[in-house]
């Protein structure tokens, strides 16, 4: 801008000098012809003509630069808006709400779905997923990963990582806490292009040789919260797992892990704490790094230069085929496939993208209502200004310039509204960011107002400026000069204008109805959800999670620990029963096992059916109130040496053994596994999601399927949290070093974790609906008030020839009702596809029900009529003599 201004000044100086030179030369010439100095100057000026006019003409030739005109337009627009602050405030406020809502929702969707990983060339990074007929997509075993890395030529680099909850303590003598970390393979940071801001990443020998692997890189957030951002943290020794580990680096702030939601606290080499070469009692390798059946690693890859995705996929297929031949036990029918980051995310959380798109779509509707509203405001102002505009046209303003002038006004409103909207969104984002999923897992909805959100806000601000500015500007540009100038007052409205504003109001009502129907559907779904029976007891249950193997317990020690823990906790006063379970409902910690039900004909090419399983002890069913319908629960009979037993739920029995008594049926766990006999039938509960359809589920006895990481469930007589202290005492008494994780009441976990997200979405959709409705009502009120004001004379005449005030009232209300009814009908038509999309996209949302279909439209019509009662009343109170005398 300054450069432009200096250029313009130089141009002016240049012209002045040029004209001065001309006059001097002419003057000199006249003097040479013998004129006196004064006469010579006058003669020169006469020959030249009007200097100022010439300068003006030259400036015209230069032309106004676009920028200069824009500045002029914006200045003028700002002045116009200042002159009508009420209008300006209403317009800016509506835009602020619309843009604020959209920006907040976009930032949420961006955090959950769209934002790419904070790594170098995120779109060039692919995920390699393992596939089999039973489980279409899963992680990859570390051994397979290493084989693929060595045998392929299509990838420039491959890395593997997995999340792991590990005991962590800042010093070696402190009691460790369970913390989420990430185990990574060789070259993790190098391949991702993430440069630690302090220290370094891992050296190849650190990630490959277990003895050298006692190093860690902290995440930026953990460095800040746990270490106070200490710049000398590199080189410090901390405790992770059972090892004393040296901090070698701190990751940059932007890099928060390989997942949009879960942000690990630290990164350690995959080899940390692994004991290669050892086998467990069952004879399998103890280390996950040596088990080809442990599909826990996520593999990422960058293609080599010049290699296409299809070529890489083809080579991947041939590598996995050779692995299949080499290791038929674990790799039978196991392939691998490439996935882009976006594909990976939708695989991992398939419901997320559609629900975010729905929220974005609904908030776009709010913005449309906002635009209609502001357009309406502008139109009513344009009416009042039609004379001003006509005069400006008459004295030669170009229509294009005039339209641009009015657009500048909308732009000023949009920019002011957009700025305020971003501030609103900022507040909303702080609220969204404060939502914590109640687990010790660092799950963060990393909503933030970053550049991406700001660009989005700016874009929609400009878009909406055009949306609500074009119609009024176009109408003004078409203004009928003569009639506008001839009228003394603003005169009777042209039919077209009123129809235009009515259309806007109808559209607003229709869209508010759509939003309210959406909110109604969500509310219904939520109400249903609240009363839904999860199928297990949620009240008076305390949960606590342990993993003794993480501090070096052997299988035997672990078993002893849990036996003692259950016995001592169960003996505490106020405790009714205690149970141990590997997983608890609604936390995705069930193991998907391949189950082979006897006598069930499997689909071709499939070795078994993937089913969620849980490993529980004998008192699990009693403690959580899961009813055993037939047969028995687990008991002391089920020992490692007795025959293998299992309990299936009704749904499992109905699918695989329809019409047969499930008790006594058999199934295998894993294709080559031993036969397991069904001893009990459990009532089907909810396992992943409160709104899920009945899912097949298999329970296995803890005694026969030992595992180190278990959750203790304590059923108390009173407040479950009051038992937390005593139970902790028991644990400390048994093992002071053992970290305790996820201490909370099952009720809290259930309400916040299961209902919380749904409640949040419900809140969002209903606030959108209410906002839309308020805006539509303001618009309707404006239109009715405006048209009543215009028609006072008509009403006066009507009353003079015999209409009663109630006739007038009815007339006005009837017209408003027609508008509302048309809007409602349109809105209902639009709601049908919306409801379909909602029930398809969000679990638990049903189809349109009578309640929503009757209550929402009826309520909307009543509210709209109520909004018009005021102006209608004023119309009915008109004094005919007064109104008629006015002209």
């Amino acid at each position: 801008m300054w450069r432009w201004k200096r250029a313009r000044e130089r141009q002016e100086d240049d012209l002045t000098a040029e004209i001065q030179t001309h006059l001097d030369l002419e003057e000199a010439e006249h003097r040479g012809n013998g004129l006196r100095p004064r006469d010579a100057r006058v003669a020169a000026l006469r020959a030249f003509g009007n200097v100022t006019l010439v300068q003006e003409h030259v400036r015209d030739v230069w032309g106004w630069t676009m920028f200069e005109q824009l500045v002029q337009d914006v200045r003028y627009a700002a002045r116009t808006l200042q002159r009508s602050p009420g209008f300006g405030f209403a317009a800016v406020l509506s835009v602020a709400m619309g843009i604020g809502m959209n920006s907040a929702i976009f930032s949420l969707a961006d955090a959950l779905v769209f934002r790419p990983l904070a790594v170098r060339d995120p779109h060039g990074l692919f995920a390699v997923r393992s596939t089999s007929p039973e489980t279409p997509f899963s992680g990859i075993s570390y051994l397979d990963f290493k084989d693929i890395r060595e045998r392929n030529h299509s990838f420039e680099s491959l890395i593997a990582h997995r999340l792991a909850v590990l005991p962590f303590a800042k010093s070696l003598d402190a009691v460790p806490q369970m913390r989420m970390g990430m185990k990574v393979s060789r070259d993790f940071f190098q391949v991702l292009g993430v440069d630690p801001i302090l220290g370094r990443g891992f050296l190849p020998e650190e990630t490959d040789i277990p003895a050298r692997g006692a190093v860690a890189v902290l995440s930026f957030g953990f460095w800040q919260t746990e270490f106070g951002g200490d710049p000398r943290v590199v080189g410090r020794t901390i405790q992770i797992g059972q090892a004393s580990v040296t901090i070698v680096g701190v990751a940059p702030r932007a890099f928060t892990g390989m997942d949009p939601i879960i942000q690990p606290f630290f990164y350690v080499p995959a080899t940390l704490g692994e004991k290669p070469g050892q086998t467990s009692e069952a004879g399998v390798a103890a280390s996950v790094l040596e088990r080809r059946d442990d599909l826990g690693f996520i593999v990422r890859a960058r293609l080599a230069t010049g290699v296409t995705r299809a070529q890489a996929q083809a080579e991947l297929a041939s590598v996995t085929r050779s692995l299949e031949e080499q290791y038929p036990d674990t790799n039978r029918r196991r392939g691998a496939t490439l996935r882009s980051e976006r594909e990976l995310r939708s695989e991992q959380a398939p419901a997320l993208l559609p629900s975010m798109l729905l929220l974005l779509g609904l908030s776009a509707l709010v913005l449309v209502i906002v635009c209609a509203n502001v357009a309406n405001l502008f139109l009513s102002k344009a009416r009042a200004r039609s004379r001003e505009i006509a005069i400006r046209l008459a004295i030669g303003a170009g229509q294009f310039r005039l339209v641009r002038q009015l657009l500048a006004e909308s732009l000023v409103v949009a920019v002011a509204g957009g700025t305020a909207g971003v501030a609103l969104a900022f507040a909303a984002v702080r609220y969204l960011g404060s939502i914590r999923i109640p687990t010790d897992t660092p799950m963060v909805i990393a909503v933030q107002m970053d550049g991406r959100v700001l660009v989005f806000s700016g874009l929609i601000a400009v878009l909406s400026a055009f949306a609500f500015g074009l119609a009024p500007a176009w109408q003004a540009g078409r203004a009928d000069l003569v009639s506008a100038l001839k009228r003394t007052d603003v005169g009777a409205p042209r039919r077209g204008r009123i129809i235009g504003r009515q259309t806007l109001v109808v559209a607003q009502i229709a869209m508010s109805l759509v939003l309210l129907v959406a909110a109604g559907l969500m509310l219904e779904a939520f109400a249903k959800m609240v009363v839904l029976d999860p199928g297990f007891r949620t009240d008076r249950i305390l949960m606590m999670e342990f993993d003794p193997a993480a501090i070096g317990y052997s299988d035997l020690q672990t078993r002893e620990f849990y036996r003692e823990l259950a016995a001592r906790a169960g003996a505490l006063p106020g405790v009714q029963s205690v149970a141990l379970s590997r997983a608890i409902p609604f936390r995705p910690s069930f193991t998907d096992a391949v189950i082979v039900p006897e006598g069930f004909e499997l689909p071709a090419g499939q070795d078994g059916v993937t089913t969620a399983t849980n490993t529980v002890d004998a008192s699990y069913f009693v403690t959580l109130g899961v009813e055993i319908l037939r047969g028995r629960g687990f008991s002391v009979e089920d020992t490692p040496d007795s025959r293998r037993t299992g309990i299936v739920n009704e749904t499992f029995a109905a699918i695989y053994w329809p019409g047969r008594d499930p008790i006594g049926q058999r199934f295998r766990v894993g294709a080559p596994g031993p036969w397991t006999e069904v001893v009990g039938l459990a009532r089907t509960a909810k396992y992943f999601n409160i709104t899920e359809r009945p899912q097949p589920h298999v329970y296995l006895p803890l005694e026969q399927h030992r595992t180190s990481r278990l959750t203790l469930l304590v059923h108390t007589a009173g407040d479950p949290m009051s038992a937390a202290g005593p139970v902790r005492q028991v644990v400390r008494g048994l093992e002071p070093r053992l970290p305790i994780a996820n201490t909370r009441s099952l009720r809290t976990m259930y309400e916040e974790g299961v209902l919380g997200m749904q409640r949040l979405i419900l809140q969002m959709v209903s606030s959108m609906g209410l906002l839309g409705l308020c805006l539509a009502l303001v618009g309707l009120y404006g239109v009715v008030t405006y048209s009543v004001g215009r028609r006072m004379r008509e009403f006066g005449v009507r009353m003079a020839i015999g209409a009663t005030p109630s006739d007038i009232l009815r007339l006005v209300l009837k017209e408003a009702t027609v508008l509302a009814a048309v809007g409602v009908v349109l809105g209902l038509l639009l709601s049908v596809p919306l409801a379909r999309a909602l029930s398809a996209g969000l679990s638990g949302v049903g189809s349109l029900s009578g309640w929503t279909l009757i209550l929402v439209p009826a309520g909307l019509i009543i509210v709209t009529i109520a909004a018009c009662v005021g102006p209608a009343w004023r119309a009915s109170q008109v004094d005919p003599t007064l109104v008629l005398r006015l002209d």
Binding site: D14, L15, A17, E18, I19, T21, H22, D24, L25, E26, A47, F48, G49, N50, V51, L53, V54, H57, V58, D60, V61, W62, G63
Partner: protein, 117 residues
């Protein structure tokens, strides 16, 4: 038409000034005052150019890139003058314009004096 006769002098038709300026600059670079004088002189003072009207024309031609300008000192004058000179594009434009002008003049002549035709 905006053409009037005042005491034997003729005011310029709109648009013809550009042509005259280009024609004048064929002879070489020149400054505003000299161009005005040159037009008057070569038309034997029949064409009356209000000196001021020359400048919008010069700036217009410069904007169309038919002429360029620069402040230069010359032998005749002590002070620097803003000298205009023809660009190749301007030369091309002059050729095109003058043939159009000639065609117009011939046509006008035929219309005004049909007997001579």
């Amino acid at each position: 038409m905006k053409s009037r006769s005042t005491g034997g002098r003729v005011e310029l038709l709109q648009g013809t000034l550009d042509l005259l300026v280009l024609q004048t600059l064929v002879l070489g670079p020149s400054h505003g005052h000299a161009i005005a004088k040159q037009i008057q002189r070569s038309s034997d003072d029949v064409l009356q150019v209000e000196h001021g009207s020359l400048y919008p024309a010069l700036h217009r031609l410069e904007r169309k890139k038919w002429i360029t300008s620069a402040w230069r000192t010359t032998k005749e004058h002590a002070r620097p003058l803003k000298m205009y000179s023809l660009t190749p594009a301007g030369r091309k434009q002059l050729t095109a314009e003058s043939s159009r002008w000639e065609a117009l003049v011939a046509a006008m002549a035929r219309v005004m004096k049909p007997a001579d035709g």
